[in-house]
């Protein structure tokens, strides 16, 4: 049982080896990580395809543009960059409008001049004011003397293709070995605490992930989609769900704040992120998010400014906690490979599903499109990212392989069917040819048995000069009748499946009677012919044993009857001066022996029509030998006479 199961399984494995090979190949291809770039790209596509979102009104970006820098330069000094005093003045103005929190996302290297003390005083006075450092290499330290709780780092992890798709939440920094918050996380934390009283705690499902109220921020763990196989995931990170809006955030210029101090409405209770947007003094980070960001004049290549990236990262936490907006999470490695395997098998099944290649292709198209749609809808509603590309690839490759295989199978079957048809046709031709041959043999046999014998007798009588015109006339009339009989008999026999009667001379002998009775009738009929050698016969000794259990077909009986008639006829023709005829059908255990014996003088010069004694009868006997698996022999007797014997096994004739 187990063995047959195993051999069945082995058989199946061999049959499906191509499909299994394809699945294994794609699984290992995925394991090498070469498909990661495609999956990241697919993630970008999903992000771009989302519907438009509203402008984030909890965040205000303050742009320190070139115009403002120029004005400040003119006011304080000629040095490039931003004076501490100018920044302190701007910050003072912003804080006066009671924002929820203010972040100065300005690296210390861009600051110069006096007024640092004034700025530090503001930090002491307003705990909601925070600033940044760059914590990862190359490090940029913060403004000196800022307390740790008012510091956050503004680094972003960058993917291998140079794009930003992730953000840090908190992380150990390389050198200080202490946990620090990223700017976006710190801003969200401050805002949620101050405005909504929602504190941060360790995640319920994942203790390493932070949780605000009931909402856990999904942590990008090692070996998760779409970063499978990427070992460059450090700290606590999450994927950025960019806000889908042309101008996702409200932004005003620093000049506007200076000129119009009445910005309360726009600043109050908001997260204000202040950053330099002047192209000369800032760098941008690449994202694949193509939306138009800050004003046209601020565009810097394909990149996104730091403050905007921070705003996206902050905004996604706020909106997930407050608006229930979905955050992006990837499925784990196990599920990912499981899913891939499933689609591999589904592809195999799909490829075999239909014999029509067009139906299969249509099915594949629908399945592939459906798969992609389902992945997209899941992503859209829950943020769960199922990698569609590799699964699509798997589905398509396996389905195509099996479509080709099944097409080849169909072609093979068609060829086999065609071959069978040809074989049958050949067999048919063969059997028809044999039938024809049999028919010709029958015709010859019957002409030979009747008319030819009669003709032979007549010719001999004419030769011997022992006939008269009147006798010849009667014989010719008999001949005429016999030829007609042959025609009628053949016509009748050809209309029925099995032979029913044997025609000898002008006598029809029923083939359905038992063999011994048939043989006796053949014997009687054969002796009625007017052969000269029959006239001298004094003693005719005959006996025919019944067959017993063995069965013979009518055709076999026909052959045996014709053989006996022919053998007796030969005595009449050739056994000159014979006085005794012995015809025996003897059944001895499992053999039946048919013998015809005479005591005549065997002259070879007498026959003028039918050849010598090894004529038609011998030919027939040889045929019988092979048909009935028997033996035939002829022997000269001493002092004179002739005997021919046909013997066959009843055992084997039963199986003929």
């Amino acid at each position: 049982m187990l063995r047959t199961r195993w051999s069945q399984l082995k058989q199946m494995l061999i049959q499906q080896s191509l499909g299994i090979g394809a699945i294994a190949f794609l699984l290992s291809l995925k394991a090498t990580g070469v498909l990661q770039a495609i999956e990241l790209n697919q993630l970008d596509q999903f992000l771009k395809l989302r519907p438009e979102e509203t402008v984030e009104n909890r965040i205000l970006l303050v742009k320190i543009d070139q115009l403002y820098l120029d004005r400040m330069q003119h006011k304080y000094s000629d040095r490039a960059g931003l004076e501490y005093q100018a920044l302190a003045d701007l910050t003072q103005l912003i804080l006066a409008s009671q924002p929820a929190t203010v972040a100065l996302d300005i690296p210390v290297v861009r600051l110069s001049g006096d007024g640092q003390d004034n700025l530090l005083r503001l930090f002491e006075q307003y705990p909601e004011l925070i600033t940044v450092e760059k914590a990862f290499r190359p490090r940029i330290p913060p403004i000196s003397s800022i307390p740790a709780q008012q510091l956050a780092f503004n680094d972003f992890p960058i993917d291998l293709d140079g794009n930003v798709r992730r953000t840090f939440l908190v992380s150990y920094t390389a050198e200080q070995e202490e946990i620090k918050s990223s700017l976006s996380f710190r801003l969200a934390e401050l805002y949620l605490d101050k405005m909504h009283g929602i504190g941060v705690s360790n995640g319920q499902r994942d203790p390493d992930a932070p949780q605000f109220g009931e909402v856990e921020i999904p942590r990008l763990k090692l070996n998760r989609e779409p970063y499978l196989g990427d070992s460059n995931i450090d700290g606590i990170q999450t994927i950025i769900s960019f806000r889908q809006q042309n101008a996702a955030f409200e932004a005003i210029t620093a000049s506007a704040i200076l000129e119009n101090s009445d910005q309360n409405e726009r600043i109050q209770n908001k997260i204000v992120i202040v950053g330099i947007t002047a192209p000369k003094l800032t760098t941008s980070l690449n994202t694949t998010f193509p939306k138009v960001r800050l004003g046209e004049e601020e565009m810097i290549g394909n990149g996104m400014l730091g403050i905007e990236l921070q705003a996206h990262a902050t905004s996604q936490i706020l909106s997930s906690v407050l608006d229930n907006r979905a955050l992006i999470r990837g499925i784990s490695q196990t599920y990912s490979y499981g899913l891939l395997l499933m689609f591999g098998i589904a592809g195999c099944a799909l490829g075999r599903s239909s014999k029509n290649v067009f139906v299969s292709l249509l099915g594949l198209l629908i399945a592939a499109f459906g798969l992609w749609i389902v992945c997209y809808l899941i992503f859209l509603t829950s943020g769960l990212y199922l990698p569609p590309v590799v699964n699509l690839l798997m589905l398509t490759v396996t389905a195509l392989i099996y479509m080709l295989l099944s097409q080849r199978e169909i072609a093979d079957q068609e060829i086999a069917a065609e071959r069978k048809v040809l074989e049958l046709a050949a067999q048919d031709r063969d059997s028809r040819w044999q039938e024809r041959r049999r028919a010709i043999e029958d015709v010859f046999g019957e002409i030979h048995n009747g008319p030819l014998q009669m003709l032979s007798i007549t010719l001999r009588q004419i030769q011997d000069g022992e006939t008269s015109i009147a006798k010849i006339e009667t014989q010719l009339q008999a001949l005429n009748q016999q030829i007609r009989l042959v025609g009628e008999h053949l016509k009748r026999e050809s209309q029925i499946e099995a032979r029913q009667s044997l025609l000898w001379g002008n006598q029809q002998i029923d083939l359905n009677q038992p063999l011994h009775e048939l043989l006796y009738e053949v014997y009687t009929v054969s002796l009625q012919a007017d052969w000269p050698n029959f006239r001298n016969l004094k003693v005719k000794s005959r006996s025919f044993d019944p067959l017993g259990q063995a069965q013979l077909s009518n055709e076999e009986k026909d052959w045996l009857g014709r053989f006996l008639a022919e053998a007796i006829c030969n005595v009449g023709k050739h056994a000159h001066g014979a006085t005794r005829l012995v015809v025996r059908g003897q059944r001895c255990s499992e053999r039946y022996t048919l013998s015809v014996e005479d005591n005549g003088y065997n002259g070879h010069n007498g026959d003028i029509v039918l050849g010598d004694r090894a004529g038609g009868g011998t030919k027939m006997a040889r045929e019988l030998e092979c048909r009935m698996n028997g033996t035939f022999s002829r022997e000269q007797l001493s002092p004179q006479g002739f005997r021919c014997i046909l013997s066959w096994s009843l055992q084997s004739s039963k199986n003929v």
Binding site: E517, Y520, E521, T524, L537, K538, V539, S541, R542
Partner: protein, 226 residues
């Protein structure tokens, strides 16, 4: 007149002829129990009831009494064959106008162990009675059909018996041993040979001739032995 018979069955469908033969039999065998049958069905019924010592048989009989068709000798031939197959010891007399038809069952007659005689219907009562008595004694007389054949037709075993008896001078018991059969079988062969050799046993006995010697003379004459 003649010896007594316990039971005789007469198979004949023509009432006039039936009466004739029954009268003849009653006269010749006054103590015999004579039964009649006029169809195949009746014949079987009588045979199954009680096996007769002698059956006088007409070949042309109908299958049963209601049969509207004319009586066919074919039917009688078939019946005769079946009866001989089933009751091989039964003494049978066939009287018919179609005795020629019996040529076809010569092999069956040769095998039949009981008496078997044939008589044309046109023969005299005396001749009919002779054949009946022959059959009753278990003899065979088929001269009516044998005269239709050219030469002598025998079974090989019979000529073997002749050869062993007259060329080797063996007694029946020794012949039976040589041929590896029962002595009864040899006697059966002799009865058949007497028929073939046209020996009228009753007549020969009356004249007082030795049957063996007559047989040898006739056999040589007919070419059965050299």
């Amino acid at each position: 007149m003649g010896p007594q018979l316990a039971r005789i069955l007469v198979v004949e469908d023509y009432p006039l002829l039936l009466d004739g033969i029954v009268n003849l039999l009653e006269k010749h065998y006054p103590d015999a129990d004579i039964w009649t049958a006029s169809s195949v069905r009746e014949t079987w019924a009588q045979l199954e009831l009680s096996l007769p010592d002698l059956v006088v048989f007409d070949l042309a009989i109908p299958t049963d009494e209601q049969d509207q068709q004319q009586a066919q000798p074919e039917t009688g031939i078939r019946l005769l064959k079946q009866i001989m197959q089933q009751y091989s010891q039964l003494n049978i007399v066939v009287q018919s106008t179609y005795t020629k038809a019996l040529v076809r069952i010569i092999p069956q007659i040769d095998e039949h162990l009981g008496g078997f005689t044939i008589i044309e219907k046109s023969r005299s009562s005396q001749e009919v009675l002779e054949r009946i008595e022959s059959a009753r004694r278990g003899y065979t007389n088929t001269q009516e059909i044998r005269k239709l054949q050219s030469g002598v037709e025998v079974k090989p075993e019979w000529t073997d018996v002749l050869t062993l008896a007259f060329q080797e001078g063996l007694q029946d018991r020794a012949i039976a041993q040589r041929m590896n059969v029962q002595i009864g079988t040899i006697r059966h062969y002799w009865r058949k040979l007497y028929d073939v050799l046209e020996i009228d046993l009753e007549a020969e006995r009356k004249v007082g001739r030795n049957l063996r010697t007559v047989s040898e003379i006739n056999a040589r004459h007919k070419g059965l032995i050299d």
